[in-house]
């Protein structure tokens, strides 16, 4: 999947879960940059991303994400391994 397309799909997931319009995530985006993305919504977001892309994260993978770029790299790795 093209990176731009992947980010577009992620934006839609974030908009649905955070109930906000116009959410745009970029590689350097962190939870601090997006209102509503906190420790309470984080795992719900991860679950939605897993369901959307038909992948499974490991807890240690999630704990190592420093920003959206890290997460996208992990998603791409899992999609490529399918």
């Amino acid at each position: 999947m093209e990176e731009n397309e992947l980010y577009g799909q992620l934006n839609k997931i974030y908009e649905t879960i955070l109930k906000k319009e116009g959410v745009t995530v970029a590689p350097e985006t962190t939870a601090a940059d997006i209102d509503g993305w906190d420790s309470l919504t984080h795992m719900i977001l991860m679950d939605s991303i897993e369901k959307h892309f038909y992948i499974k994260f490991k807890l240690m993978e999630i704990m190592k994400f420093n920003n959206v770029g890290d997460m996208v790299a992990c998603i791409q790795k899992k999609l490529a391994a399918k």
Partner: protein, 490 residues
Amino acid sequence: MLFNSLEFGVFFAILLAVYWLLYKNRNAQNLILLAGSLIFYAWLHYSFPIYLMAMVSVSYVLGKLIGRQENEKRRKGLLILSLVVLSAGLIYTKYSGFILGNIKGLESWEAGALHILVPVGISFYTFAILGYILDVYYEAIEPEANYLTFATYICFFPQLLSGPIPAATTVLPQFKKKATVSVNSVTEGIGEFLWGLFKKMVVADNISMAVSYCFSANNVDLSGSSLFIGAALFGINIYADFSGYSSMARGCAKMFGIDIIQNFNLPLFSKSVAEYWRRWHISLTNWLYSYIYNPLVFGLKRWGKWGVIVGIFITFFISGIWHGAGWQFIVFGVVNGIAIIFEILTKDIRTRLLGKMPSWLGGLISTFVVLIFMLFSWIFFRANDLAQAMRMIGRICSGSLFSAPDTFVVEYLVWGIPMVVIEWLQRKGRYTLDVDQWLPTKVVRKRAPKNKKIMMLSLGIKLAIYVAICLSIYFFHKKVDMAEYYYFKF
């Protein structure tokens, strides 16, 4: 050895001088720091360092075994073994009396009857060690190969007795690289230490007399209004005591070139209970978030919002138990968990309601509600037992809340005001006594090592403030025998 004692001053000066004399050799610095930390701990009881070093040695070996193991099942087995072995000491010393006391037929085996000597700070360094083991398991860090480095990291005296709980990912690497020191780091360190000392000796110690009076088991005649103020005083007391200790620890560590986490970030101005816990005892909140909440919610993520709710409830239940072996602490943890769950479930309606008023008013109301809630939850925290907490809350919620409060209690409120005002005014500084933020922007921007005039101006102002703080401590500290820190009991 307490931070606010003469023997600590002598100990610290000697240790710091020897440490920096050895600046060319990191291992030698660690060796002297470890020896100093063990002497510091042995000052409380000769047996404490023995237990501590046993914990360090076992966790060092277990960390290496987990790191080496590639078979996932065996890794998990080693992790469970590590968690059981390393938390056994904490459970035995701190909780066995409480557990046995709650089993029918064994009520007589209460904590006091067992006569167990609880090593001071055991909850803090056990959590630091467990955090290290979990970080190795989650591959967030490599197991530490150098025993001396690892032992120095766990035993580092500023954070040993009362935290902050050091995260292996950020603090451990600092004991491996060359330590550096600058005029800035020393002045910052002294500033943080002095502010912490002021909070402990002037604010916390002075208020503690009124708090003891209000929370005395014999004091059954106090009005609801006096008890209400007593609970507020305890809030200020525990904040000044614990954040004061954390500031002193951070200040000491800075002078050794070690940067440890800022454990408090103006929690009294939080607009929600969740925000309060992100600002209060931050190192514990981070620990619980990383190693309890996250794994729990990850396992329950298919439950969506309900997985989060269960995760919060269990996390705060554990937070309550961590604070002490008593039902009042469990209730303290649980009511805070329930408050955060309530905030999640009512987020939309609260956002709509607050959106209809000016943001400053919404903020003010939210802060006020959080403070009132915390005031009630602090009663559980400080009460001798659950029955006393319920009695106090019953009186506060009675008609006597509107009677005139005891003047003895009211006058103690004055001790907390300067601290709260100064911290609010200095909220944007790197630390509370940081004055650079008040210098004109242009001056601050020019503040480079080469610009000696600006450096001297900044240093001069800081020196004057530090002298003023020292004089305040000298004139206003409570003249009693050394008062221990409240969080030592945890």
